[in-house]
């Protein structure tokens, strides 16, 4: 009898080993504890925290979310307890899970805050990787770092000098050419890129003739943005060598597979966590079944195998 070999769904992101390629996207999974009743946290490929800043941040005025066709807008505005409280209150629960913890960070005023945060996180052994959120649309800046290749290159390079941890750069879709920015991240020493963050959007209450969000504009996520995200993953895949963590409207195994075929090494589940808090575990199982059904031994076999 031939021994049926178990499909191996592990992947590598730089020097980071993940048991499976299903992560949860920053800002959509809190600090994981919120999901403990609803999913097998220990089984996740990795957990990306809500973005942390140096100081605590209150965030934007209400309403901060509103539903749009097949998607949602959010203008949370990076509400978070700040790095010191994160380490004091949140990290203990996370580290006990035994799942790689990726801490997402951002600056409020000066890019130097990224360096300060990276130095602090570099010393924490429970942190497996750092994700640079240079693409949050809810800070109401004229220009995001990830909207400029040179600024992206400069920042990633400086952070790279400060840490040996796996470094991921999260990119914005609100650009003319996302592959240019991805290339700048790669050249500056990023181990991987995450794409995409939310797309700038707006929704209007016609009776009130007023914006539906308290801060007027926000970021669009959910199935509505999936085709844009898939296209961007595919474009970037053809231009860089470092791994891509694909996200944007992944709702199930089927949509996750689109991202692998387009060129993702791993994927992140975002908005779908709000609708089905157990969806990440379901996608992990779904991918295993797909691999078994199609006699795929490693997910590497399908990354970027788009037939054209």
């Amino acid at each position: 009898m031939v021994k049926r070999c178990q499909p191996d769904s592990s992947v590598k992101i730089g020097r980071l080993h993940l048991n499976n390629p299903v992560m949860v996207a920053s800002g959509t999974f809190g600090y994981a504890e919120e999901f403990k009743n609803f999913t097998d946290l220990e089984k996740l490929g990795a957990i990306v925290t809500k973005t942390i800043t140096v100081k605590p941040r209150a965030g934007n005025p209400a309403p901060r979310t509103c539903e749009t066709p097949a998607g949602m807008l959010n203008s949370i505005g990076l509400e978070n307890p700040g790095i010191a409280n994160f380490i004091k209150d949140k990290i203990n629960f996370l580290k006990k899970l035994g799942v790689p913890i990726i801490v997402s960070i951002a600056s409020e005023n000066s890019p130097d805050e990224f360096l300060e945060l990276a130095e602090i996180l570099d010393d924490l052994k429970e942190v497996s990787a750092i994700e640079l959120n240079i693409s949050c649309p809810n800070l109401h800046k004229d220009k995001l770092i990830s909207q400029d290749a040179q600024s992206t290159f400069g920042l990633v390079k400086e952070v790279r000098r400060l840490t040996r941890k796996c470094l991921i750069t999260k990119l914005s879709p609100n650009v003319t050419s996302i592959s240019e920015i991805a290339k700048a991240s790669e050249e500056a020493g990023s181990d991987a890129v995450s794409l995409i963050n939310t797309l700038g959007g707006m929704s209007i209450d016609v009776n009130k003739r007023a914006p539906k969000l308290g801060s007027w504009v926000g970021g669009l996520s959910g199935p509505a943005i999936r085709p844009i995200a898939v296209r961007m993953v595919w474009e970037v895949y053809n231009k860089i060598k470092i791994p891509i963590i694909g996200m944007g409207g992944i709702m199930d195994t089927q949509s996750a597979l689109e991202f692998f075929i387009a060129g993702s090494t791993a994927i992140s589940v975002g908005t779908a966590n709000f609708i089905n808090p157990g969806i990440s575990s379901e996608i992990i199982e779904g991918l295993k079944k797909y691999m078994a059904d199609n006699k795929i031994r490693s997910l590497r076999e399908i990354t970027g195998i788009l037939k054209i």
Partner: protein, 259 residues
């Protein structure tokens, strides 16, 4: 109590007046754990129309049944109105903290429940839990057609007083003015107010409670995406920092809120 995601059978879903609906679901898991003031988060359809869940307060429970009332005002609630008995709904609950009943129902304390419009929803459950203390219930609405659940409160032994903006039934004016008037005629030293309704009403009640040195527990509403404390879509400012309506609330003490 821990929340769970359950697939619950619809026992009934009836339009009882105007745009108002009564929904009964079968879920022993949620019914057993539910506390007054908690809510459930409902996936209205299996597809992504609408995409997000919709929160509805638990209106009453019995052994294995949860009852809700809702106004069909938009895509989500109108979609819910189309669901039929025998079908199944994907719901998460019970969610939120619920009213704190530990400091109430002593013999000489009056429990005053104040509802604005749809705000009656969680207060019927509360009136049932406070039945022995025979609470006073003040209900306010635009006009008499929008005054809900009067019979339900009465059958639970509550004393009910009404206010309508247009004066079509009861006191003419805001329910908060009725509250002020009521407080001026009774010894309210040990009273507690429990209120649910529009933000402006809750804010007014906060002021009234402070002026009269009464404790008030307010049930807040904000737009929420996840309902389990993860997305930070529904946070409100309190004296103890930002809190999530879905997880740390929806019930807050009036004195802790910053309006």
């Amino acid at each position: 109590m821990e929340a769970a995601r359950v697939i619950a059978r619809i026992n009934s879903n009836n339009n009882f007046s105007g745009n108002y609906w009564h929904l009964e679901l079968e879920s022993a898991a949620i019914a057993r754990r539910a506390m007054a003031g908690q809510f459930i988060n409902i996936k209205v359809n299996d597809n992504s129309i609408p995409l997000l869940r919709r929160p509805l307060s638990i209106h009453s429970v019995s052994s294995s049944k949860i009852r809700l009332i809702y106004e069909a005002i938009g895509q989500g609630t109108q979609g819910l109105a189309k669901r039929k008995p025998g079908e199944f709904l994907d719901v998460i609950g019970p969610l939120g903290n619920g009213f704190n009943l530990s400091k109430t129902s002593s013999k000489n304390s009056l429990n005053i429940l104040v509802a604005g419009g749809m705000g009656v929803a969680p207060l019927v459950f509360l009136a049932e839990r406070l039945k022995l203390s025979q609470p006073l219930v003040l209900i306010g609405a635009k006009s008499k057609n929008c005054l809900l659940c009067i019979k339900e409160f009465k059958s639970l032994g509550s004393r009910v007083e009404l206010a309508t903006d247009d004066g079509s039934l009861g006191f003419k004016g805001k329910v908060t003015d009725l509250l002020k008037k009521t407080l001026s005629t009774i010894d309210h030293r040990l009273s507690t107010i429990y209120a649910c309704g529009p933000k402006a009403m809750l804010k007014a009640i906060s002021l009234i409670a402070a002026e009269n040195k009464i404790r008030a527990q307010l049930s807040l509403e904000e737009h929420m995406a996840c309902g389990i404390g993860a997305c930070l879509g529904c946070t409100v400012q309190t004296k103890l920092g930002f809190k999530r309506v879905c997880h740390d609330g929806p019930i807050f003490l009036s004195e802790e809120l910053i309006w």
